[in-house]
Chain length 129, copies 2
Amino acid sequence: MFHEFAEFEKLPDKMVNSVEQMEAESDFINGFVVLNETKTIIGYVTYFFAYYTWIGKSMYMDDLYVKRDFRGSGIGTKLIKKVIEKAKSDKCNKLRWQVSEWNQPAIDFYKNLGATVDSVESNCDLSLS
Amino acid sequence: MFHEFAEFEKLPDKMVNSVEQMEAESDFINGFVVLNETKTIIGYVTYFFAYYTWIGKSMYMDDLYVKRDFRGSGIGTKLIKKVIEKAKSDKCNKLRWQVSEWNQPAIDFYKNLGATVDSVESNCDLSLS
């Protein structure tokens, strides 16, 4: 489903992780999943703790994804609310995540949740592997 | 110096953290400082571990700042190289950070280090405090 998400984000080549690597790094992976009535995963969210010096202890939500057939029924909202609840219970001051600038439905959804969406910062990525 | 950095970034109002809060949250703060010959801090960098599902275990560099009078003498490079070294020794696959889109000298500096700079993603921030 991580690959499916990368396809959805129009960046399939950026997904270079593997099942083996994720198993080896599993101590660093946190998240929640939603199962349907047949116990199949239909949506997931991942997060990690962050420390932004300007605001303090925070949480970063990396992936939020719901399978196509199950969108529009509140599952995404349920997943993000679960992360907000977790962040609050861990005394985080902020939840940060990112949205692709072309994904207007997601931008509207996030603004509706009360988030500010800001495009001043660009990501810098340095590959180390 | 955190306040000074927020001024430099033209976002002084976004710096809402305090010494008291940072002391209380000190377990979550990691970084390096550079001292001059009088043991005064003239530059600093902060980082935290991240997990980007597409690439795996990573490090995020939050602040990188050198006081005005000491810029242009390689201190910034020294600090970022120290973070890269730490990230590699902790088996991180990627180092990510952000740059303001108006800060062309920094963008050039980072590209020169081998980083890719991408503005497709926007930050979404939800205040929890």
